[in-house]
């Protein structure tokens, strides 16, 4: 699997997207804090966190005895550069070409 595959796979699951949203709201949460309000076992949360970490979307760092989880926005940025920019830019340039053509016809 390429890096892109890992990121798309990680993002394809609603629970994992929810975990990312929770870190977006407040970064650096511990496993216990991430579990709160989720109807899921600790094991389930850990499993999803591992997929997110493998995809590079979450980075965990130890501070003393606690492990804090941080959202790493870089893979989403790279995915955006690689996949989103390319298609939206074409769309925009196609529209501006159409505009030029239509306006030039008059």
């Amino acid at each position: 699997m390429t890096d892109d595959d890992l990121v798309f796979k990680a993002l394809a699951d609603p629970t994992r997207r929810r975990l990312l949203d929770r870190l977006f709201e407040r970064d650096g949460r511990t496993l216990g804090e991430l579990e709160e309000g989720l109807e899921m076992t600790r094991f389930g949360v850990m499993k999803h966190l591992r997929v997110l970490e493998e995809a590079g979307l979450v980075v965990s760092r130890k501070a003393g005895r606690e492990k804090h989880h941080f959202l790493n926005p870089v893979p989403i940025r790279l995915l955006h550069d690689r996949w989103i920019d390319k298609y939206t830019e074409q769309r925009v340039s196609a529209l501006s070409e159409l505009k030029t053509q239509l306006e030039g016809r008059g």
């Binding site: 709201e25 970064d27 650096g28 590079g56 941080f70 790493n72 940025r77």
Partner: protein, 147 residues
Amino acid sequence: MTTTAIQTTQVYRLYIKASPDEIWDAITKPEFTERYFYGARIENTPGGHRSLGPDDDVWGEAEVTEFDPPRKLVHGWRSLYDPELAAEEESRVTWEIEPQDGGLCLLTVVHDQLEGAPKTAASVSGGWMLVLSGLKTLLETGQPLVG
């Protein structure tokens, strides 16, 4: 639209296909930083961190608290390019380079101790992403991402 919470610790991590020495040079020498860091000529030495803008304006000046080539660099951060941000407290930037298999390195940038610099925290978060994807592109292709 969700409101963006101000994060007092920001973590950015990416793989770069380059050697630890190449990454180290790219983050410590001004002739490299000016190609991906908003044109800033940044010099990191055991003596300190200094960032100069295109017109030799001082964009940043701080202490280097850890200088361990080509593995770890820790320096202070003050956004002197903007008076409002410059008035805030100093924060800290840590660069960690970890070699991986296959000629890759894992680069982790942690910008923390931002408790006394909420405006800086909000302002740098998009910037780091652009800087780091620019650094990756420069090292992997030899070409700057922008311009």
